[in-house]
Amino acid sequence: MLEKYNKYKNVAKIAAGAVVCVESEIRGDVTIGARTVVHPKARIIAEAGPIIIGEGNLIEEQALIINSYPENILPDTDGVEPKAMTIGTNNVFEVGCVSQALKIGDNNVIESKADLGRNVILTSGCIIGACCQINTCEVVPENTVVYGSNSMRRTQNEKPQPQTLQLDFLMKILPNYHHVKKTVKGSGALLRN
């Protein structure tokens, strides 16, 4: 199974309309949707399975989105299914965050230096505060805010606003100063679970 997957390495499918800077590191089978901006020095690493990123996401510098092997499994073990990591629309991954969560919904904000473990499933509208770590095995309910040094939680009434203004601005400005990776022509039909 894994050998078949390994054939598809070094293939990054970037939809038209996405701005992905050349200085970002994208390894493995990664699909990036339209209107997504990936800053330089962001890292998207698909080691143990493909990563599918939706539309309108904002992935800032030094953010790390990694689909890695679970800790007790070696890369060469047979019989391990590659699990796909899906990320929805309008998410913001701020500077320096680390996300290994397999399923992220829409309109989430993962603030700077936050850390998400592999077994977390984020639904929609969640805000994971700066330096907060979530490494439990759970589904974070909608509109949850995690904040503070003790990672306290509360629920907010509405989801955070999509960063449309910021995305438009970046899509105009970033190509002026950085080289952009080539996009793949054609439909950007995405697999969404």
């Binding site: 949850t144 805010v145 629920t155 907010q156 509405e158 955070p160």
Partner: protein
């Protein structure tokens, strides 16, 4: 080895009402009494109130009226951060023509840290940027105000009776009206003077400061006593079976920050106005001189009077510690810095065995016998390339190095306790202090003005050297 420079490694002993050991950076020096003072042996006086976020100054009377809260700034009820006002554009119908809509600005409060917004508790967006937000009214406000008025009156009456008795005992001839006036004048100037402070048995003196003026009618205020109820509201039936949703429940801290309501649910947490901070000045209790007086302006961090200990007393700091072993002599390198501009002479002495101050000692110590001479602090020396080399004859066994107003010297430490996790040594430091504040009396011989007299001060210094080497 930055941990050696931590301030609480070297502590000085302050002999006040209580013996306090504190690092030199936290102590003050009264140059009229020529003694070290700590925060506990000075009296604190409030200078001014200011808001920490908008830095607005507020006179004390106004602060008391507003219960020490700022009028413009709010605190997030969730994380106690400062709230900021954000604006959105909402379409609103034009009053003339209901079919058309224009964009109007609506303001709401939001916290940058925990992302709480005023919409979370159901507060509607306001159309003005500031001044539109109201704090919810306390349901018991009326009863509390009535109780306060009643007790103010009671306090005033008790105080009058007490003072009348005192005046009557002391001066039988003085007319009553005059004595009332004297009391009133003293009252007006509050609890700053020595007379008022030294009266310890004044239980209701806080309220008496707010008492009615002499000329007002003293109407009798009566209150109904609180009634005890036999029946208490029963708990809801599903209290034990309903699952608790933790994000909905307020923490104790959030609840107690609003003692009026103490809401149990997060949807009832309303923002409160921000607490004011105050600038305080410190005064020596013995000689009543000011030790620290900050500037009035909240944006300024300078002081009008700043008699801190680091600018008068030489400071001892640990530079390097070798491996300490039980009952073996090791050399510890310390530095001594001279803060004044004159040459300082410092001599060290060990504590006697029966010294009551030295109870924390766990090691014996050998200090240099010779007097250490420190050059004065010269602010321009670092820019002066042609600085003359200092001409001090240093014993290389005692003095390790010398650099402008700093000197490094060795002491020998013999740890006495086996398995010691923190070797503590103590010694007495004796140095000369020239009091430049005292007026210089003209000398009998005439001629030049004499230099200020040098007095010798002794301080007890304790050092914590850390654990023994394994």
């Amino acid at each position: 080895m930055a941990s050696l420079l931590q301030p609480n490694r070297v502590v000085y002993l302050v002999r006040g009402e209580k013996k306090i050991r504190a690092p030199l950076s936290q102590l003050y020096f009264c140059r009229y009494c020529s003694e070290l003072r700590s925060l506990e042996c000075v009296s604190h006086e409030v200078d001014s109130h200011y808001c920490p976020s908008c830095l607005e100054n507020m006179p004390s009377a106004e602060a008391k009226l507003k219960k020490n809260r700022c009028a413009n700034c709010f605190d997030c009820p969730c994380c106690m951060h400062t709230l900021s006002t954000r604006a959105t554009n909402i379409p609103a119908p034009v009053p003339d023509d209901p079919t058309k809509t224009t964009m109007k600005k609506a303001y709401y409060l939001a916290c940058g840290f925990c992302r709480w917004t005023s919409r979370d508790v159901g507060m509607a967006d306001k159309s003005v940027a500031s001044g539109g937000w109201q704090e919810p009214e306390n349901p018991h406000a009326q009863r509390i105000n009535k109780l306060i008025e009643y007790y103010q009156q009671l306090a005033h009456r008790e105080k009058q009776e007490r003072d009348r008795k005192k005046m009557a005992r002391r001066r039988q001839c003085m007319p009553l009206a005059f004595s009332q006036h004297t009391i009133h004048v003293v009252e007006k100037y509050g609890l700053g003077t020595r007379l008022q402070r030294q009266r310890p048995g004044a239980p209701l003196s806080n309220l008496a400061g707010l008492s009615l003026k002499e000329g007002e009618d003293q109407k009798e205020i009566s209150i109904e006593p609180a009634q005890a109820l036999d029946e208490v509201e029963p708990l809801p039936e599903d209290f034990y079976t309903r699952p608790v949703s933790l994000p909905e429940v307020t923490t104790l801290r959030q609840r107690l920050l609003q003692p009026d309501f103490q809401p149990a649910g997060a949807s009832q947490l309303h923002p409160r106005h921000k607490h004011l901070l105050m600038k305080r000045s410190l005064r020596c209790r013995k000689c009543e001189h000011n030790l620290s007086k900050p500037e009035f302006n909240p944006t300024s961090i300078k002081f009008k009077i700043q008699l801190v200990a680091v600018s008068y007393i030489p400071e001892v700091r640990i530079m390097s510690i070798p491996n300490l072993r039980y009952m073996k002599e090791s050399q510890v390198l310390l530095t001594l810095t001279n803060p004044v501009e004159n040459v300082a002479h410092v001599s060290l002495a060990i504590c006697e065995d029966d010294d009551p101050d030295g109870i924390n000692r766990t090691a014996q110590i050998l200090v240099p016998n010779t007097e250490l001479v420190l050059a004065g602090k010269d602010a321009a020396a670092e820019y002066d390339e042609l600085a003359e080399p200092q001409d001090f004859q240093d014993d290389p066994d005692v003095v390790a190095f010398r650099k402008s107003n700093k000197i490094g010297f060795f002491i020998k430490v013999i740890p006495q306790k086996e398995e010691d996790t923190d070797v503590t040594v103590a010694f007495k430091m004796r140095h000369d202090f020239r009091n430049l504040a005292a007026p210089i009396r003209p000398s009998e011989e005439g001629g030049d003005a004499p230099a200020a007299e040098a007095i010798w001060l002794t301080h007890h210094v304790e050092l914590r050297l850390g654990p023994l080497a394994p």
